[in-house]
């Protein structure tokens, strides 16, 4: 049989995002896969060195278009650590609720991509519709549909508008009411089980060696979640569970995603119940004169794909000296994907990739 080099993406139906994989194949078996990122490289971390601390907030959220909120959070936490800014308690709750909404929205987007790729168009349409309802909430809260620019150092940018609590509850109830339908049409569907189980299987030891986090790791059985192991915002204020599964394949990963969404919704309800009144914004200094003392900080949070970190170095100026983001898709998309695709079927390439939930702009930055 002849070896064949195959370009998968960036313009390809099975590809979500501007990303590309070069496959060396023999027949329909992949011998070697090489991830080829860089289609979305903008040099964020370089650009941030040219902008003041606060000017970087509109910039950082563009790092991940699916879920800009966790990028904001990681950067804000790093800046707060460096500058020693306190965040009011209510703002911590607002942040948590906001981030969990983002997780729900992001997972629904992932579900759309996955279901679409597997050919479950009905479910894909539902997921995208429900994500739009979450975006409506974001629009109401922050004034933006996709890029929210809501978390600021010292709190959040605006308080909840009037009646927003009820809106969250109504929207989430209407989405939650569809969970049985989702289950019937997709999660408990034998076709999904057949197509996904055993695909992109990785065991826990390997996942740890390759730096996996998020649902990729949790699908192998470890209850590792930054929200639990290093709590931030208000995640330690309420009771919640980390959903895990043990098989480590695409089927498990998607199930973890589903359970996480449900857990997030429950968590939002709990947070809403015990949210205190008070201030939500502790003003940082004048943006034109804000200098942060020399130092460095690493802050991390759990995005919908895994551990999101921001390493920020200040040399005492009004601009960061160096910023480096640790994005979950980076190990997932660059190493784990390559390893998982070895000896896979060409037909399973998209399945594997999307089940890892690789978001290209996050890798390229």
């Amino acid at each position: 049989m002849r070896e064949l080099e195959l370009y998968f993406g960036p313009q390809h139906l099975g590809m979500v995002g501007n990303f590309s994989i070069t496959l060396k194949a023999e027949g329909d078996r992949v011998l070697k896969a090489t991830a080829n990122p860089g289609y979305l490289h903008r040099g964020f971390e370089k650009l941030m060195e040219y902008r003041t601390w606060i000017q970087n907030f509109p910039l950082v959220c563009r790092i991940n278009v699916v879920e800009p909120d966790h990028v904001e959070m990681a950067y804000a936490m790093a800046v707060e650590k460096l500058a020693g800014i306190e965040v009011p308690e209510r703002a911590q709750y607002v942040r948590s609720i906001y981030l969990e909404l983002a997780r729900v929205g992001s997972h629904l987007f992932g579900l759309w991509a996955y279901a679409n790729m597997l050919g479950f168009d009905t479910v894909a349409q539902w997921a995208m519709y429900h994500r739009d309802l979450v975006l409506d909430l974001f629009e109401e809260l922050t004034g933006g549909r996709v890029y929210h620019i809501y978390i600021w150092p010292g709190g959040v940018r605006r308080d909840f508008p009037k009646g927003f609590k009820d809106k969250i509850v109504t929207t989430l109830h209407s989405i939650g009411g569809c969970v049985p339908d989702y289950d019937a049409a997709f999660f408990n569907n034998a076709i999904f089980h057949k197509r996904a189980s055993g695909i992109g299987k990785i065991d826990q030891r390997r996942a740890r060696e390759l730096g996996a986090t998020g649902q990729v790791l949790r699908a192998t059985g470890m209850k590792y979640d930054v929200r639990k192991v290093a709590p931030y915002a208000a995640y330690d204020k309420v009771e919640w569970n980390v959903p895990v599964r043990s098989d480590g394949d695409a089927y498990s990963r998607i199930w973890v995603v589903r359970d996480e969404m449900i857990e997030s919704v429950h968590m939002i309800f709990k947070l809403l119940d015990c949210m205190p009144e008070g201030e939500v914004f502790n003003k940082p200094p004048n943006p034109f004169k804000w200098k942060i003392p020399r130092g460095e900080a690493y802050a991390r949070c759990e995005s919908s794909r895994g551990e999101f970190g921001a390493y920020v170095v200040s040399n005492g100026e009004d601009k960061p000296y160096r910023v480096h983001f640790r994005t979950p898709s980076y190990p997932h998309g660059l190493i784990i994907l390559e390893k998982l695709l070895e000896n896979a079927n060409i037909a399973d390439v998209g399945n594997t990739m999307i089940s890892l939930y690789v978001v290209a702009p996050e890798i390229d930055r």
Partner: protein, 619 residues
């Protein structure tokens, strides 16, 4: 988890019979949220052109462009922001930094065009651009663009609680009314380092203040230096334009703070107190300034009057290498600010600090020397290469009502109470006048009463022609006076001073004011003769204004000295009067009648004098 099934999915067939979820756009619409961040709106009436939006924009999408038919005013630049939607990312940072809150985002977001040039525009709103903002019945989504927008479609707006600037100033520690009225101890205590830095950190550096300041001090630079904890650098910047910071830091009329962009919705930066902080925190100006002495030019300039204008000119000339000689009738420097502002506002030590620094630079001071009697003006004209008149308005005006000669005049009263001791006041004082001088007089009188009659009831009242809200005194002064217990009688004019049998003052008879100005806006009060008010008093002080005293200038020269229609000395662009080699500045020239304008005059004159000197040497 249930077992995977292939029949389960058929449950979803029931959705076939449900109503579709699709929005039939554009027939069925979804309004954007109330906070939506769409295209910009800018209220041109509120916008000051400060340019903070352009500075904060991370994408350089905002550029300040000069508007041709718009005039710059103090606190208003003739520039407005221009947006480039090929750059804008709709983050709304510009909204959160806008001090007047004029810049907002609307809920409009449609602009589709084949020409990229149409994506640059200058935002306005319904008020100024009616043709582009259409009522709902004329608005069509299919034509929507930057030139076809919906009326009343406000989106993301500024909110002071979430603004990026701090609208409230750091509170200045002050003595309370009860405490301060017992003595002449300085009322304002001054910032400490921490508060000064915090206050300086509020400045957004839009430089509206610098344009409003008559002397154009580089305010944002020296405020930034304070923030960076470099008071010496700050002092250097101040001294470029204002050599008497300890004085100005206390009594400046702060045109800058009125212009400050933060003052529109919050409190302005305490620019005056920050200047005072710099002046007070540096004990020795000379070492901090590190001035290099200029090459002596051999020219001598006589300066008549050691007030702010005279002092400033002396400093500027010394820097140019000319020898400045100052004459003043008072025993120390400061001129009118030496006697005018009472010690609780401006202690003598602060004046002397500025004056002594100048003396140490080589300025020659001749105090207790009245030009006209101690030295003649002709002598000065002969001996010196140029003369600067900075004599100020040193004579108080009198109301000239019946028995007015029994009253005290404001400046005499203030001078005696500040420079001499032994002014005796009565238990019941009436002050005539509603300006800042009258407030100084009243508050000085109050303190003297408290000191002279510590245990007895005393009272002090003021009378002025204007209504309460038209009084020319500054709001702060009026408020503080009221706090100290001074009674006000606005809209009453003095009719006569009543005497008792012994010929002493018994009180002031007043009549109700009908109007202060005539139809053309000139000062010409009219009264209701039949409405009278009698204020019992044993001391009456007149504080209704001052006039300059030109009696020292000989008649032949005086006849050539020209005046403006507002009875000010006429000077050309070099500060020179109609008499050659005689320059003038300060209260006799400008109509602002304050220290910083006097310094501005001195700057003009210093350049003018420099010019004629260089002309002479080269010619």
């Amino acid at each position: 988890m249930a077992m995977p099934s292939i029949l389960g999915p058929f449950k979803t067939l029931r959705f076939l019979f449900e109503k579709p979820k699709t929005l039939r756009y554009p027939f069925e619409r979804k309004e954007p949220a109330l906070r939506y961040r769409g295209f910009h709106l800018n209220d041109w009436e509120k916008c000051t052109g400060c340019g903070n939006c352009a500075d904060i924009c991370p994408n350089q999408a905002i550029e300040m462009v000069e508007i041709p038919d718009m005039e710059a005013q103090p606190g208003q630049k003739n520039e407005r922001p221009r947006l480039d939607y090929g750059r804008c990312c709709f983050c709304g940072l510009c909204v959160d930094i806008c001090p007047p809150g004029s810049l907002r985002l609307s809920r409009d977001y449609f602009h589709i065009h084949f020409d990229t040039k149409t994506f640059t525009f200058i935002p306005k709103d319904e008020k100024t651009e009616k043709e582009k903002f259409l009522p709902p019945d004329k608005y069509s989504i299919l034509q929507a663009s930057l030139a076809h927008r919906k009326q009343d479609y406000e989106g993301f707006a500024s909110d002071l609680d979430f603004s990026l600037f701090e609208p409230e100033r750091i509170t200045m520690p002050e003595l309370g009314a009860e405490e301060r009225k017992m003595s002449f101890v300085e009322q304002v205590l001054g910032y400490d380092k921490e508060s000064a830095r915090k206050e300086a950190a509020r400045c957004l550096e839009c430089k509206l203040c610098e344009e409003a300041c008559p002397a154009h001090l580089k305010i944002s630079d020296y405020v930034r230096a304070i923030y960076e904890d470099k008071p010496a650098d700050s002092l250097k910047t101040i001294f470029k334009d204002n050599p008497i910071p300890a004085i100005c830091g206390r009594i400046c009329m702060k045109h800058c703070e009125t212009a400050c962009s933060l003052s529109i919705r919050g409190e302005p930066i305490a620019i005056r107190w920050l200047k005072r902080y710099v002046a007070d925190s540096i004990l020795d100006y000379k070492t901090a300034l590190e001035l290099s002495p200029a090459q002596p030019s051999g020219k001598k300039v006589a300066i008549i009057g050691a007030g702010p204008s005279g002092l400033a000119l002396a400093y500027f000339l010394t820097l140019q290498g000319h020898h400045a000689v100052v004459f003043d009738a008072f025993p120390g420097g400061g001129g009118m600010v030496r006697i005018g502002p009472p010690a609780y506002r401006l202690p003598l030590e602060s004046i002397d600090k500025d004056v002594n620094h100048m003396a140490s630079l080589g300025v020659e001071f001749n105090f207790n020397t009245r030009v006209g009697s101690d030295i003649s003006f002709e002598d000065i004209m002969k001996k010196y290469d140029a003369v600067y008149l900075a004599i100020g308005t040193s004579q108080s005006r009198s109301t000239k009502v019946k028995n007015a000669d029994k009253c005290m005049l404001a400046l005499d009263f203030l001078r005696k109470s500040k420079l001499e001791s032994g002014v005796v006041v009565g238990k019941k004082i009436v002050v005539i006048g509603g300006g800042n001088v009258a407030m100084d007089v009243a508050r000085t009188g109050l303190r003297l009463q408290k000191m002279q009659y510590p245990d007895e009831p005393t009272e002090i009242k003021t009378v002025c022609l204007e209504n309460g809200d038209e009084m020319p005194a500054s709001e702060d002064e009026i408020r503080e006076s009221k706090e100290e217990g001074i009674a006000f009688n606005p809209a009453w004019g003095p009719k006569e001073v009543r005497l008792d049998d012994g010929g002493n003052i018994a009180g002031l008879l007043c009549m109700k004011v009908k109007s202060v100005f005539d139809g053309q806006g000139r000062f010409s009060p009219s009264f209701y003769e039949d409405q009278e008010l009698f204020l019992e008093a044993d001391t009456i002080i007149e504080a209704i204004g001052q006039a300059p005293d030109f009696s020292f200038i000989p008649q032949n020269l005086m006849s050539t000295l020209e005046f403006t229609p507002r009875r000010k000395v006429k000077v050309d662009e070099n500060g020179q009067t109609t008499i050659t080699r005689v320059f003038a500045g300060g209260d006799i020239v400008n109509i602002n009648l304050d220290a910083v304008t006097a310094i501005a005059d001195a700057k003009v004159a210093a350049e003018g004098i420099g010019k004629i000197f260089s002309k002479k040497t080269s010619g």
